[in-house]
Symmetry: C2
Subunit: 107 residues, 2 copies
């Protein structure tokens, strides 16, 4: 069990939504941003990222569109929806509660 796996499990979706609240973005960029924000301590694995995108899209929390890059590799952008914003509020609330509980249990 490493810090990049089970301890963070279940937060992937919230982390992605949080990024999309700031601005639309695409997979590769989101991954880089997360690494940067955590000083390379947390790298979302690609497979994890894309499976989370699928779930979020399925749930209606994000929508997707192709970027219009004339050069370079194509980019699939993701945008958070209204429902996604609502879901994020819930995710964050759950995180606050979970944090309190675990802190209480790990005395």
């Amino acid at each position: 069990m490493s810090i990049t796996s089970d301890i963070l499990r279940g937060h992937t979706e919230a982390i992605i939504l949080s990024h999309l609240l700031e601005q639309d973005s695409y997979g590769y960029q989101i991954n880089k941003d997360i690494m940067k924000k955590t000083d390379n301590r947390y790298e979302l694995k690609e497979a994890t990222l894309y499976s989370a995108f699928r779930r979020l899209e399925q749930a209606g929390y994000i929508r997707t569109y192709w970027g219009d890059e004339s050069v370079g590799a194509r980019r699939r952008y993701y945008a958070i929806t209204g429902e996604g914003k609502d879901a994020y509020v819930v995710y964050k609330q759950e995180w606050q509660e979970a944090k309190e509980m675990i802190d209480k249990l790990l005395k």
Copy 2:
């Protein structure tokens, strides 16, 4: 995804070790303690609990012995080992780091 599953996933072992640091205990009691400490918001499911016991014992973090109850159902007690205490320190450190990281990512 509920607050009793993935968000807490990966913390089960640390939570158990934390309890055993206070005193030796047995499955049923540990479960009750956790519910009490969290105002019934977090119930460790029995199957989860026992599979965690197996992992912890396998890792040498806990040892087990039968209680000497003359009445009532038998109790299998668990005690934390020296290795378990060391492991707990690591678990807790990881939790502190993970907490910081997630807080940073869920702005």
